[in-house]
């Protein structure tokens, strides 16, 4: 302890203390976050016919905002006619049930398993016609054309999602998320149903084949990784400039100090 107290006037003592404090707070916060997450993942399910089970799940988990018969309320929109694809996307990516009110629902670990999601989807689809969960053939990236998909993506998607699908900002706290790690099915459903602030790209706007091309493009660039080294988040010149001013100049300054501190 004596050695420690001797160093308390060291110029870096305040920095060290600050770092220590931040580390403690950070670890506690992470630990607390993990515990609540683990609780959220546990749910129970029942199963009779899919629609009936779906209705029960709906009444228990969704009706508070969307209404007992999915007719909508002040807190949530009507789900009549949104189709199975919308449910599969929103619930499958964990966006629904919503974690908190905010500019838009955020993805989190899915709260229901695949069976429950399909039951919910079946129930909502039974209320009115809407886009259904896509067939496997439109999700097969071996069939798609990545180059054409890239063109479609740049014209329709890149202005929000970034040309490298790294995501981008929208107004008033809304944002277009990164598309890395999103499953083929969810990408397709997002295009077909336009979740959150995304516009709907229906089949006459982007045909199912073109949707498959887009998915193929996204999966290709994801699989290719980044040629030429670490991508720095694929965020473009801002990340590159930040890197230049921090790491680049930092290393150079370290060397200049070393060079001029050496006795000649």
């Amino acid at each position: 302890m004596k050695a420690l107290s001797k160093k308390r006037r060291h110029p870096l003592a305040a920095v060290a203390l600050l770092l220590f404090g931040l580390l403690i707070t950070g670890s506690l916060y992470t630990a607390a976050g993990n515990i609540s997450e683990a609780k959220a993942a546990e749910t129970t399910a029942a199963s009779q016919s899919d629609v009936d089970s779906g209705q029960k799940l709906f009444a228990a988990n969704c009706a508070t905002c969307h209404g007992m018969h999915a007719e909508g309320s002040d807190s949530g929109p009507s789900l009549i006619g949104v189709g199975a694809a919308a449910v599969d996307f929103q619930v499958g990516t964990g966006r629904m049930p919503m974690q908190m009110q905010g500019p838009q629902a955020q993805a989190k670990p899915a709260q229901f398993d695949d069976k429950q999601i399909s039951q919910l989807a079946a129930y909502v689809a039974s209320l009115g016609a809407g886009p259904s969960v896509p067939d496997e053939e439109y999700l097969d990236t071996t069939e798609g054309d990545a180059a054409h998909g890239g063109t479609v993506f740049r014209v329709n998607c890149a202005m929000c999602h970034n040309a490298a699908a790294a995501g981008g900002a929208l107004t008033r706290g809304k944002f277009a998320p990164t598309l890395t790690g999103v499953t083929e099915k969810h990408i397709y459903e997002a295009m077909a149903t336009g979740p959150q602030n995304m516009p709907v790209f229906n089949d006459s706007n982007i045909t199912p084949d073109e949707k498959r091309d887009v998915i193929t493009f996204l999966k290709t660039i994801e699989a290719n990784g980044s040629a030429g080294g670490a991508a720095l988040g694929s965020l473009g010149p801002v990340a590159e400039g930040l890197f230049t001013w921090t790491a680049g100049l930092g290393i150079i300054i370290a060397f200049t100090i070393w060079l001029t501190s050496r006795p000649s």
């Binding site: 970034n162 995501g167 706290g173 040629a227 965020l235 680049g248 290393i251 150079i252 200049t256």
Partner: protein, 556 residues
């Protein structure tokens, strides 16, 4: 040289050396230049970094010209990058794709070129900040400051013309903004844009034109300016930080030969190594992500390279309308209506113009206000010139706010805040930030000066607490050594100079304005410790001295 005492070397090497020397006078140059003294300090080395990265730019750039084709002719890409196979694009884009994926070492060289470009302008900027904050631009170096400023602008020009060459989506978006700014110029705008692009944007000529500028004119001007810059450095001799033994008439340091020849030579390769390492490990400007240019799409996260960022940021901050007031005016003239698009014109030209104008004029502004026309070879510690440091920080703040605005979208997504709020805050900071920074920096400088005074007069806190018989606690103070004291007490003391009448006894308006600024700058000041003050302080608490401290006087 007479034939009788001509030196005859004995060895072959000696004969070759003598042959060269007797024809070009190399030994004279080495003798003169090799004994040139340069002071040693890490902050003096950023100019060097800029020069080395520029050499790197020339080397890697030459490699790229072997393979790059600046044509905008339409081709179908058939290279090895699958997600783009069969797409139509310009030859410029296709050849850049080939450099990236089909030329051996091409991607590495592209990345070396781009990273060193970013580092080149960054080190130029840091070098200029160092020169500004230490007052190295004062007489006789004002013109070299201007040359340096032009070098920075040329560096930005070189960077921007290069950024536009691959003809990918990002570079095309950048050119579209240039097109918009050109068209916003009143009356001549549309003509200028048509001339530049050879027709309606994007046309089929702009890449060739930018290429000529990028590989010929701009680098040639940069090389010329570097030569002028270095020539002036040799003529003026290098500045040095104040310290015992360092005066306005000498330079304390090491000679070029052998010390700096070795150090600078080694540093050259260190910079090479750092850039090569970064270029090998980190991707830059992945044009295959952005795709070929097409005027319809714009990607999220589209930004210019960092050195153009502040102009882009100003454009992002500028509102198109303010309440009911529109910044877009249609002015009817006899020949028809002309537009004046202030929402583009103001942010694109005014902040950058103002920053560079004040920057270029600053040596003269400072000379005018302080009436200090002496030669200065000793640098100021930034705290000892609070007005200048504060002005500099105000400028840095203004620049940084605009700079941050260029990444407003990324600030919003990465810190989970609203993009609108980021814009509102930055707009506020644009006006208030520099004022606050000026005030804060000056306060900090004055406080540091007061602390320096305190240390000189009363010594530094020794950390030894004594208890008197009455029970009072006092801390012992350790007197600073003479070298440190010299540093803390010897600086240029600038004072408020009231308006003075000219020879005819008349106080001119400009003199009154000068006095006003002088008052604003120097009303608050901390004077250096005088010998009598020091003596008085010593007499007052000599008994506080801590043993083992040699306080003798120093010859100035």
């Amino acid at each position: 040289m007479s034939a009788s005492n001509e030196y005859t070397p004995a060895t072959t090497t000696g004969r070759i050396a003598n042959f060269v020397d007797s024809r070009v006078g190399a030994s004279g140059i080495v003798k003169e230049f090799g004994r040139k003294i340069f002071p040693d300090h890490w902050s003096f080395m950023f100019g060097e970094v800029a020069m080395y990265t520029f050499v790197l730019l020339l080397l890697s750039g030459t490699f790229l010209t072997f393979f790059f084709d600046p044509s905008m002719a339409h081709v179908v890409y058939e290279g090895s990058y699958v997600p783009m196979k069969g797409l139509g694009m310009s030859t410029a884009m296709a050849s850049t794709m080939d450099i990236s994926f089909d030329v051996r070492g091409g991607l590495f060289m592209r990345q070396v070129h781009h990273w060193s470009a970013l580092l080149f302008v960054a080190s130029l900027s840091v070098h200029m900040l160092r020169v500004f904050f230490t007052g190295a631009f004062r007489r006789p170096r004002e013109l070299n400051w201007v040359v340096g400023g032009v070098l920075l602008i040329m560096g930005m020009a070189a960077g921007f013309t290069g950024y536009s060459l691959p003809d990918d989506l990002l570079s095309g978006n950048g050119l579209r903004i240039i097109d918009g700014v050109m068209k916003a110029l009143p009356i001549v705008g549309t003509y200028l844009s048509m001339f530049f692009f050879g027709g309606e944007f994007p046309g089929e000529h702009v890449i060739q034109r930018l290429y000529s500028l990028h590989i010929m004119i701009v680098p040639a001007v940069i090389i010329l300016l570097i030569v002028i810059h270095l020539f002036m450095v040799v003529t003026h001799k290098h500045t040095q930080y104040p310290g015992p033994g360092r005066t306005n008439d000498n330079v304390v340091g090491f000679p070029v030969g052998p010390v700096y020849a070795a150090k600078a030579g080694g540093f050259f390769f260190i910079v090479f190594g750092i850039v090569a390492l970064i270029a090998g490990l980190f991707q830059i400007n992945p044009i295959w992500n952005y795709g070929p240019y097409d005027p319809s799409p714009v990607s999220a996260g589209t930004q210019p390279d960092w050195y153009i960022g502040f102009v882009d940021g100003a454009l992002r901050l500028m509102p198109g309308v303010l309440g009911n007031f529109s910044f877009e005016w249609n002015i009817p003239f006899p020949w028809g209506t002309n537009t004046l698009v202030l929402s583009v014109l103001l942010p694109a030209l005014v902040p950058a113009g103002a920053i560079f104008m004040v920057m270029f004029a600053w040596p003269w502004i400072e000379r005018w206000v302080t009436k200090d026309n002496r030669e200065h070879h000793l640098l100021d510690r930034p705290r000892n010139a609070p007005f200048r440091t504060a002005m500099g920080m105000a400028g840095v703040t203004l620049y940084s706010v605009m700079w941050a605005a260029a990444s407003s979208d990324l600030i919003a997504t990465h810190f989970h805040v609203s993009l609108n709020d980021v814009t509102y805050w930055l707009r506020t900071l644009f006006f208030l930030g520099p004022i606050f920074a000026f005030w804060l920096t000056r306060r900090i400088c004055l406080s540091l000066q007061r602390k320096d005074r305190e240390i000189v007069l009363h010594g530094r806190e020794a950390g030894i607490i004594q208890m008197s018989p009455e029970g009072a606690f006092t801390e012992k103070h350790e007197e600073v050594d003479v070298y440190k004291r010299y540093l803390l007490t010897n600086f240029v003391d600038r004072q408020y100079i009231p308006a003075e009448p000219d020879a005819a006894g008349h106080v001119s308006g400009s003199e009154k304005r000068r006095a006003m600024i002088s008052k604003f700058f120097f009303e608050d000041r901390v004077a250096p410790v005088t010998p009598s003050e020091l003596e008085a302080a010593h007499a007052a608490h000599g008994h506080h001295e801590v043993e083992g401290n040699k306080a003798d006087s120093i010859e100035k």
